[in-house]
């Protein structure tokens, strides 16, 4: 299996909303990441997001009519979730989690027909990073872990992510 902790999604591969990129661009991203000392920091150009199943680049773009918030812009550029620890966002994230996620993952995140969100080991190790968790929620993974980017805004995904992190004691 390809590494879930992909260095190639970090670095200067262009806009996060770009479609699948030619190979030389991805090689360039790896080179830049390596040049950056594998710090995991995103370049100013943003991040190449990848699908959890096959690690192929995914297109991240707003849904029709979706407002791209400052938080989303910040996240797409830096890979850091600005809502982490934000009480207002956490409250909204909890409501969204109970609306969309608890059916499979249970209210406390221990999981039933969906994986546990509070284990030490995620099904997809990339979920340990904010970029990886966004990739799984936005573009989906296996089966019922649907691409929730079809259902909700990127801003809502960030709020859910911030709340899910609080479940992991």
């Amino acid at each position: 299996m390809q590494s879930d902790r992909s260095t190639s999604r970090q670095g200067g591969a262009g806009s996060a909303s770009s479609p699948a990129r030619p190979l030389f661009h991805r090689i360039g991203a790896v080179a830049l990441a390596l040049a950056a000392g594998l710090t995991g920091r995103a370049s100013a150009d943003g991040i190449v997001f990848r699908h959890a199943l096959d690690n192929q680049p995914i297109e991240v773009k707003p849904r029709q009519g979706e407002v791209v918030t400052e938080a989303v812009k910040t996240f797409l550029a830096s890979g850091e979730n600005p809502y982490k620890g934000d009480e207002v966002a956490l409250s909204a994230g909890k409501k969204l989690y109970l609306q969309w996620c608890q059916g499979c993952h249970l209210p406390d995140g221990t999981g039933r027909i969906g994986p546990s969100l509070i284990d030490d080991t995620y099904n997809y190790p990339r979920t340990n990073t904010d970029v990886g968790m966004f990739e799984v929620i936005y573009a989906g993974a296996g089966g019922a872990m649907q691409p929730f980017g079809k259902r909700m805004s990127q801003d809502d995904i960030l709020k859910i992510m911030a709340y899910v992190r609080t479940l992991k004691k």
Binding site: L53, Q99, G103, G111, I113, N123, Q146, K150
Partner: protein, 474 residues
């Protein structure tokens, strides 16, 4: 018995040959049951190629086997869509159960497990135009209805509301106590009888004990003869159904009767029952090559099971629910539960993420809802049941390993797809549909992102430019 019918269809008896008895046997002990991690005979490399998309919560798919190559995709809302042999989806539905009655839809879709589940075409559809649908009824308060309609030959791709109302014949109406565990699948067997999968009626834990009771259609495989043209008679019970006469009135005799004969008196037993002890047998398939029957029984909290009946089955199998789920005890309390194994063992089973209460969560080889997609006899597969999991997107093959004399279960793909159903095409190719349907915040059967129709092909036979399902790279 189906075996005789298969032999007759193949003309083997006329040639003076004997049909080889299928080598597959049903496990006699738990250690013979296949589990993930096995290896199918030979080398199997497959891919899922998209045929068409844009379907609202597709819940079923079928071929009419009429030589047209059409594929019929069932939408939960109550519509059947036609996909032509080139993959083009006809705009007008083949059947629209939402438009038959000016007072509203025929179909209850209030819960995600409710709706139109399946269509099955009569084995002589080309001559008689009959097809059968199975759905939860809005006018009948969620009861499961099986209705026969007849196509007007002058309009083969659209059954108008007028034609549907004119030809509708209700075959069965089965009351439903709760809004889940309906089952829903239907298939014609090689014997020409209609087989129907019925769930235990819902809630959880089978509170009605429907699986083990013979006085209810719930929790069963049913088998009926629909070859009745008299519209006042919905169907006949096949003469060899195992409980056909179990409840007949008779004089009481206490002496001179064997215990075996006493045991066959089952007052209240429904004559339509073919097999029992099932929880939610949504999808099941016959191997069109040998007449064997695979039943995927959706499990509860910890295990999914795949059952198999050889073609010479006489019916009457008890698959154990709710005393067992697969080889597990039910209710399951821990890893060391001890209980009798009731009835017939499955041929294969796979765990949920939590295989027993308190177990360490699995990261591989788990699922939560077994959908039998169809039996593959191509691409290196010989009588392999393809099982797609609704939760995990895993696609397993379950097949008989002649050299090892046992069943094998191998993960063939780990896909992004939320499998809901499958079937075989006219040429035996296995088809699958996936939804983006959901238990939470369900806004109805047309509100979800649309699902798609897929074809299972050998990996080296993917057409140039075709879209293939995303799979996990290992």
């Amino acid at each position: 018995m189906r075996l005789k019918v298969v032999a007759r269809l193949l003309g083997i008896a006329a040639l003076g040959l004997t049909l080889p008895v299928a080598a597959q046997t049903v496990p006699k002990s738990a250690d013979e049951v296949a589990r993930p991690g096995g290896k199918l005979p030979g080398t199997v490399n497959i891919a899922l190629v998209k045929v068409a998309d844009g379907f609202n919560d597709p819940t079923g798919v079928a071929s009419a086997y009429d030589g047209t190559g059409r594929i019929f995709v069932v939408e939960r809302v109550g519509r059947i869509r036609v996909v032509d042999k080139d993959g083009k989806v006809q705009e007008e539905p083949f059947l629209d159960l939402t438009k038959l009655n000016p007072l509203g839809s025929e179909v209850q879709t209030g819960f995600v497990e409710q709706g139109l589940w399946s269509v099955a075409f009569h084995p002589r559809f080309r001559e008689n135009g009959h097809f059968f649908v199975h759905f939860s009824s809005l006018p009948f308060n969620g009861a499961a209805l099986i209705v026969r309609f007849t196509v007007d030959p002058s309009s083969p791709n659209v059954v108008t509301a007028e034609q549907a109302n004119k030809t509708a014949k209700v075959i069965m109406s089965i009351p439903q106590p709760y809004y889940n565990h309906y089952g829903g699948g239907m298939q014609f067997g090689p014997d020409g009888y209609l087989y129907i999968g019925k769930g235990d009626g819902g809630w959880e834990g089978d509170p009605l004990d429907a699986g083990q009771r013979l006085d209810t259609h719930l929790g069963k495989m049913l088998r009926i003869d629909v070859n009745v043209e008299d519209d006042s008679i919905p169907y006949k019970v096949p003469a060899d159904n195992p409980f056909r006469a179990a409840s007949r009135d008779q004089l009481m005799r206490l002496f001179g009767v064997t215990e075996l004969d006493f045991s066959k008196i089952r007052i209240g037993a429904k004559p339509e029952i073919w097999a029992y002890g099932l929880r939610n047998p949504y999808m099941f398939h016959f191997d069109r090559k040998n007449g064997g029957l695979f039943i995927a029984d959706v499990g509860q909290n910890h295990l999914e099971e795949i059952n198999y009946q050889p073609a010479n089955s006489k019916g009457g199998e008890n698959y154990g629910w709710s005393r067992n789920m697969g080889t597990n005890c039910h209710p399951m309390t821990g890893p060391d539960d001890k209980c009798p194994q009731v009835g017939v063992l499955p041929i294969a089973e796979y765990p949920h993420e939590e295989p027993y209460p308190g177990a360490q969560k699995l990261t591989e080889n788990w699922g939560c809802s077994a959908m039998a997609l169809g039996v593959a006899n191509y691409a290196g597969m010989d009588g392999v049941l393809l099982v797609g999991d609704w939760c995990s997107g895993r696609l397993w093959g379950v097949g008989w390993d002649k050299s090892a004399n046992k069943w094998q279960m191998q993960e063939l793909l780990h896909t992004s797809l939320q499998f809901t159903a499958g079937n075989t095409d006219e040429d035996g190719t296995v088809l699958a549909v996936n939804c983006y349907c959901f238990y939470l915040d369900d806004k109805g059967p047309t509100a979800n992102p649309p699902g798609a129709l897929w074809r299972v092909v050998a990996a080296d036979q993917v057409p140039a430019g075709a879209e293939v399902a995303r799979v996990r790279v290992r």
